[in-house]
Symmetry: none
Subunit: 207 residues, 4 copies
DNA sequence: CATGAATGAGCCTTCATTCAT
DNA sequence: TATGAATGAAGGCTCATTCAT
């Protein structure tokens, strides 16, 4: 049985609109994004967008929510802190997140959150509570456990966690900001692999 | 008798306006920023802004240019690559930049560049050419020299450079994005000190 | 049952707006005309005007173009110079143009061209090239032919042509300028009939 | 007693400003004229204009009044209707006015009156009452007298008067409107000489 | 008298949102 | 559902007018 060829009404219209909106918001920012552009990109008329989302702001929230979703699953998994050696945990996690960052429009969402945090404080709050706390918190907890086991050096675990993840975020920002104007891109998985290894073992050569 | 503090000098006006604009642009983003707000913040009427800047965009450029200035001096100095051990160089540099980031509105400018890169590509280009190339390039060159001397491990110098600097940028973004909604701030100098030390020597405890 | 007279058709809108704009521009001049007034006169909101014309200036050009249209047909016909006696040609032509001037808003357009020539030089150029050259030129050519046939006295044909047509233009200007403040109007066809007859035969009585 | 050499304050500042304003108003029209331009052209600061004229409109009135002055004298003289033959009167008058039109910025004033008649009705009224009635009226009266003496053919004297003067006005408009975009100018005295002669004697050759 | 910085009302233009079809 | 014409509330920018110096 074939999919009906004349099937025009898609039940996933909202998702299509959100996808289009994500691209436009990421490119232009919230205020500079035009509903027309979003509608055109989704293959609809401007008015049709309002059949699914009452306001531009509501659409924006949907975009951020949809942009968070893929990460949240990962982070939830992480929240159940591994018990193995920290090296294994962080290596796998960094590789996984680097792949996600490489293949999803996560970068755009991150830019949006950064750029519109002051205009939409709830946005920043939600991201902080959902993404950051679960993410950074889980890593920091794992670090603390590693320190307790004597596996890791002492030091501020939260700062260590940020140190470990920062290049991923910067790599994504780099891609969104400087690559379009000609800068050479970074290979995120490679970048993170080298970074994590260095963080774990040090950059200085030892005899 | 001192000069009356309320005495406004025409000469100071542009700088005052730029300062006000920097704050508003950083808070709201370019498109959402209102000339009224900027004028009010500078203690002027809306029309007066246009005595000094022909358009909102020109004012925006001035803001970014003025935001770059303090860094550029540093980066120029860096460009004359140190000859001493890399450890000394990067330690001093990180401390210096962390202090700058802690005490100047650099964060706002960075946010603007990230957020408006697509709307103002020249902006991203200038930042890339002036700030990034000089800054990251100088560090990468120093790393390469260290590797040649056998002082540092092999690996992609450009990626190492980004690894070293990323937490500073993320720390600034953190301050601008999450601290206003209640997240605990990072002490940038401390963060960078721990980060650089870790990068150099490794996080794992060694017997 | 007739078509409802209040039924607005998208197709008619541009012409309706141009018509309204012609009136307002003619009354106030380009700079003093307000888009609000034009929109109100056309029975639309201000924003709707911009669905059809991108700028005030573009609307202005459309008004001038539409104001030229009726004349151009006549002038094209004239360009194919008559071969009969000049008296017949000029008599018919003057009568025809006087009727047009009497019944169309040509006067307003003429005022606009005169008043805005310095602000919109292309406007003056187009009118000169399209209207004046074809119009005055054709008459001057006919005069020249008449002179060659010995039918008309010698003299500058271009100046004769202007002499013949000037009262029509002045009559129109009179109507637009002085009649609204109480001056008695001129009957353009009668004015031109007497003028042409006088030009042809002379004002002085002869024995 | 010599004129003080250090006399910087000119008592004719108002006249200078009016002269500058005449040029700018004539070029741009009332609404599009900028006080800055006028001030600059008069060699003053914008604020200084307001030492002499309370508003833009008042300045405009002054311009029109000053533009009328030279003509008014002539027309007053004309009002005392000549008693000689009409031919002599009209020939001298046309020559005189053509010279005035050729050498004074009268053209600009005429354009202003035409263009702003609807925005400043008093303007049109004053011109009609002062200039037109006295001017055209005097000519029409002379024509009537000539008809009564059997010197001139019968017909509407007011229309004859307009016929006689129209080319002068059109010639001035031509200069202001089309010459700046490349049209060949008319020599006004020559134009009027040929026109008056033709009006008096006819264009058609006679055996 | 003269300057020119400053003001603020007003207009062109944009765009989120509505609604008749 | 979908369209797209229409609305109207802003916002950027201009410029006549004021005023401290």
């Amino acid at each position: 049985m074939a999919t009906p060829k004349f099937r025009r009404r898609k039940t996933d219209r909202p998702a299509e609109i959100v996808e289009a909106a994500m691209a436009v918001f990421a490119e232009r920012g919230f205020a500079a994004a035009r509903i027309d552009q979003i509608a055109a990109r989704a293959g609809l008329s401007k008015g049709a967008v309002y059949l699914y989302f009452a306001t531009k702001e509501e659409l924006f929230h949907a975009v951020v929510a949809q942009g968070m979703a893929p990460n949240l699953a990962v982070l939830k998994a992480m929240a159940a802190t591994h018990s193995g050696p920290f090296r294994e945990l962080i290596t796998a996690l960094a590789a996984h997140l680097a792949r996600i960052a490489q293949t999803t429009p996560l970068g755009g969402v991150v830019k949006m959150v950064i750029g519109e945090a002051r205009n939409f404080p709830e946005l920043a709050r939600v991201w902080h509570d959902e993404v950051i706390t679960h993410g950074l918190g889980a890593i920091a907890a794992a670090i603390e456990a590693g320190q307790a086991r004597g596996e890791l050096k002492p030091g501020d675990p939260r700062a260590y966690a940020l140190s470990l993840m920062a290049p991923l975020l910067v790599g994504v920002i780099w891609r969104e900001t400087f690559v379009p104007v000609g800068a050479p891109p970074f290979d995120l998985p490679a970048l993170m692999a080298q970074h994590v290894e260095t963080m774990l073992h040090g950059l200085e050569a030892r005899p």
